[in-house]
Amino acid sequence: MSKVLLAIGTRKGLWLASSADGRASWQVSGPHHPMNEVYAVAVDTRRDTPRLLAAVTSEHWGPSVATSDDLGETWSEPDHAPVAFPTDTGEALGRVWQLTPGPASLPDVVYAGVQPSALFRSEDGGRTYELARGLWDHPHRPQWTPGFGGMAVHTVIPHPSDVDTITVAMSTGGVYRTTDGGNSWRASNSGIRARFLPDEYPEFGQCVHKIAQHPSRPEVFYAQNHHGVYRSDDSAATWTSIADGLPSDFGFPMVAHPHRPGVVYNFPLTADGMRFPPDARCRVYRGEDGGRSWTELSDGLPDEFHTAVMRDAMCCDDASPAGVYFGSRSGEVYASANEGDSWRLVVSHLPDVLSVRAAVVA
């Protein structure tokens, strides 16, 4: 591990932090793409030269995806809109919420989850995308509804080895999964509660905030729901609560450890109607043994923290030991170089942090 890059997407641009000393200190540059919302970032390390991808949305000039093959020194965008709904849909792209590199065996495939809820696929490394018709034509789609933040596919998880299997999550709508390359999709929400609906356990319609998958055990998923924290051991077919041991079952991010099956990270907020951490203390919770037990992580984190961490504003890098990162709506970014045992402030006074991703790049 000679260099780790941390990409920080905010409401007003992208910042890049790099560390060449084992994540002890960070050099920060930015803003890149100033005054653009950056809901999604990705560090694609499947090619010899890492590629950065950033979903950039200008209030004035609309949404786009920018890529960089020199770690953010320069950026490029195609002349035509890289993500655009076909004319027959009658829709216009609101923003890209998620950029996810495909499996290692398909190094030019990148997926984009977008608002309104849809999945797009790129076969040129994330420069241009096409609508995935199978999900768009799903008979449930007219019944998916927007939450406060909009109606979006915010999570895309390709199976690490089976190129035909992809799992997505949307708010509201819940979890959907294809095993035939996207031709057909099945709702996968059994056991996830929707306490804002008369039928609290519907087939679909849940407000799933984030799901995560263990790379080495792709049948294991974790979910942070709009109240409710769950694990699935059967490829998202059924879900079981793992909220015991957490101070709250509300929150947004859910991050799986890159190497250690059974380890997951969560940032609880008090409740739907009280979106601060419990007792206003900034705390990350690390789940062990598949979330059967939780450890409060506090070393280096503040005790007065009247802010929140958004669904894509927490991540791990791929180093060993793994680094863990999160950013807040108050513009602070914290990093742990020892799997969450202790934390350091990377940067503060940024705009609202919407997304973070990190990887070893050299």
Binding site: H60, W61, S64, D79, E91, L93
Partner: protein, 94 residues
């Protein structure tokens, strides 16, 4: 007929660096037809002015001789020979 398009500084890089574009159109052409002509030559400009439904973006205002197009017929507004079409970003953001 002849139409002049004025662009704000931030968009000029997407129109070959030009602040002003001179466009020849058929008589009776609409604002939408003008934007279609611009799109053919300057797609990177077009996607910043319109979404994929060919509608002006919410915070993009287009003035026809000083009158914002939404107070007329929007993209169906007819253009007169010699009209000055000015693109101005509206007040937005925080």
């Amino acid at each position: 007929m002849h139409v002049t398009v004025l662009l704000p500084g931030v968009l000029r890089q997407h129109a070959g660096g030009s602040a002003k574009l001179d466009v020849e159109l058929a008589d009776g052409a609409t604002l939408g037809a003008l934007l279609d002509v611009l799109a053919a030559d300057h797609p990177a400009l077009d996607r910043r002015l319109r979404d994929e439904r060919r509608l002006p973006r919410r915070y993009v205002n287009v003035y026809l001789d000083g009158v914002e197009c939404r107070t007329l017929l929007g993209i169906d507004s007819p253009l007169a020979d010699g009209v000055e079409v000015q693109v101005i970003p509206s007040v937005a953001g925080g």
